[in-house]
Symmetry: C2
Subunit: 346 residues, 2 copies
């Protein structure tokens, strides 16, 4: 993956490689960021750092901040989330230790690192950076709608939290494996940590939402692909504004619809039913055509993690017949995923 | 108009009545805010305050800040905009004079009042407020999509800046004249000044856009109407995120499509053509149905200020025949506007 940010001075750039901080976490579900970084940016992770009492592990080498710095680490990433998004007092001494060892701290939590006095003081004293991934860069322009050079793919979805990030990561990786010049473009906290930069689209002021998406995938070589992580859903009653600004600003040539078979209600809403994948295709074309008349659906990405392999493969084959386009689970790969990749690049 | 904000502690509340500040402005086009306040909130304006050199006037009584305070004024509104949205040094002495006279200052400009040291110091010393209309209230929740009680009307448009605010103001006034309990709900700077409160939708972070719209028109009596000022356009490549979040969160029962006959290109874009009013109707129903299945178009509001009366009336009659719904210019009133009001309330 190239380092697509910084030179343009427009998006976040993170200090790498990382030391993954696990706190005193005992619940694997709270360590999704750490696992995501291990799985998708393993070459940027030198090890893990856990407090006594932690039972969660990434199985990377355990080390102190000083050892990690000696191994080349430059950023400590808070790889775990708490209910409430807070940084508990028990972690603070270790985070100060990381600053003293020479590491910047990277966080995707709701609380701002600089609002914790011990961290703010230590960072100021030592000249370290406290980087909150949720804070967008300053001076994002209003979108202008001008067509940009290069190719773009956007993952969209029937809901939140069903695989848009992993689908984009999987497709970008598969594109590169086939010799296609491609960058993963991150729009959420974990994705930004994996990519080493990006745009936290849900934290951008609405007037600049499409403009932020334009910044995220600037002009590129004609055969270069930006594979952009989607957010929310055009039919989500809370988050559709994020999805539409991202769609308009991304100007995708191709989109892939992400879906979790079996999910029937939208997350966090008062009983809103999921719309069908066909409705999402129609609506995405109707709205996306505004900034790219050639927009088309490349296929479908199904999150089949709740199914056995045989049932998943059979379901996706039936759905592919029904829909007339490839249906694949990027986590399972195989011929179905090869077909999805080929359809996107066609 | 009721005072709909504050008691709920959720949206902006402004100090009234106002003294309108005109600076040293010589270009009437820069004084749109002052004219809007005179025309739509005349009972809340005690006079105007202009510097030597100003040629623009609202024809309200000229007075000093001290005289205005004695007449009951509690807020000085900056009623003019400059190119660039700055507050020129020549205005600052007069603004400090207003603070000293007992007035808070209300601004919808891009620059924040508190970033001007003279004003920040004087306000702190005197215990006055510097109110930037563009700054949304804190702690806006994520939308939940729950259906709220009461009736809602939203003005939508084929583009920005073609009459969505004045249409909402005109409809709310007409509703009240017919004995219907109605509030104008403001979503932009001038509208918020007119209403004395509201939500600056374009300044809200995207993730909370629909939630901000939910806050703006809370549960109400079954026969109460909120008439909500629209923003942007669902087909505008820069601002559609604002429009969609506002549509979803407003849950309108009725919408009115605002259009300026003769305008062919969208403002501020690289050659984007306006979509037809029919396309806007279809798209608004398709997307608005997500949070209110009963959504319907009440008719059309045409900004015919560039036409003579006879040509305007003939055009609107032809368009009404073609579209099968009332077409009116709220600024012209008449039978066409009565028909539009009746259609909305039907």
């Amino acid at each position: 993956m190239n380092a697509p940010f910084g030179a343009r001075g427009t998006a976040l750039v993170l200090p790498q490689p990382y030391l993954l901080f696990l706190g005193d976490t005992t619940e694997p579900g709270f360590a999704k960021t750490a696992f995501g970084l291990r799985d998708w940016a393993g070459d940027k992770c030198v090890g893990e750092f856990a407090l006594p009492g932690a039972t969660v592990t990434t199985h990377l080498a355990r080390m102190t901040p000083a050892q990690a710095y000696a191994e080349g680490a430059r950023g400590l990433v808070i790889g775990v989330a708490n209910p409430g998004g807070m940084i508990p007092p028990a972690w603070r001494k270790s985070l100060v230790e990381a600053l003293e060892a020479g590491l910047d701290i990277v966080s995707g939590m709701h609380v701002r690192l600089g609002d914790i006095p011990e961290l703010a003081e230590a960072a100021a004293l030592l000249g370290r950076r406290l980087i909150d991934i949720r804070v967008p860069p300053a001076e994002i322009p209003v979108a202008n709608g001008r067509k940009r050079s290069g190719k773009r793919l956007l993952t969209v979805g029937t809901d939140c939290a069903l695989g848009k990030k992993y689908t984009a990561l999987g497709l970008a990786r598969a594109f590169r494996q086939r010799g296609v010049d491609a960058d993963f473009r991150a729009t959420g906290q974990t994705g930004i940590m994996i990519a080493g930069g990006g745009m936290p689209m849900d934290a951008v002021v609405s007037d600049f939402e499409a403009g932020a998406a334009e910044l995220l995938s600037p002009d590129a070589a004609p055969d270069h692909w930006d594979v952009i992580e989607g957010q929310g859903s055009l039919m989500h009653p809370a988050f559709a504004a994020v999805s539409l600004g991202l769609l308009h600003g991304s100007q995708p040539d191709v989109f892939v619809v992400c879906h979790e078979p079996g999910r029937t209600e939208m997350l966090g809403t008062a009983g809103y039913k999921l719309t069908s994948v066909e409705e999402v295709v129609e609506l995405t074309i109707l709205l996306g055509r505004r900034t790219n008349k050639a927009i088309r659906c490349g296929g479908f990405s199904y999150n089949t993690s709740a199914l056995g392999a045989e049932a998943a493969i059979a379901l996706m084959a039936r759905e592919s017949d029904r829909l007339g386009l490839p249906v694949a689970d990027p986590m399972r790969g195989g011929a179905a995923f090869d077909a999805l990749v080929a359809s996107c690049l066609a």
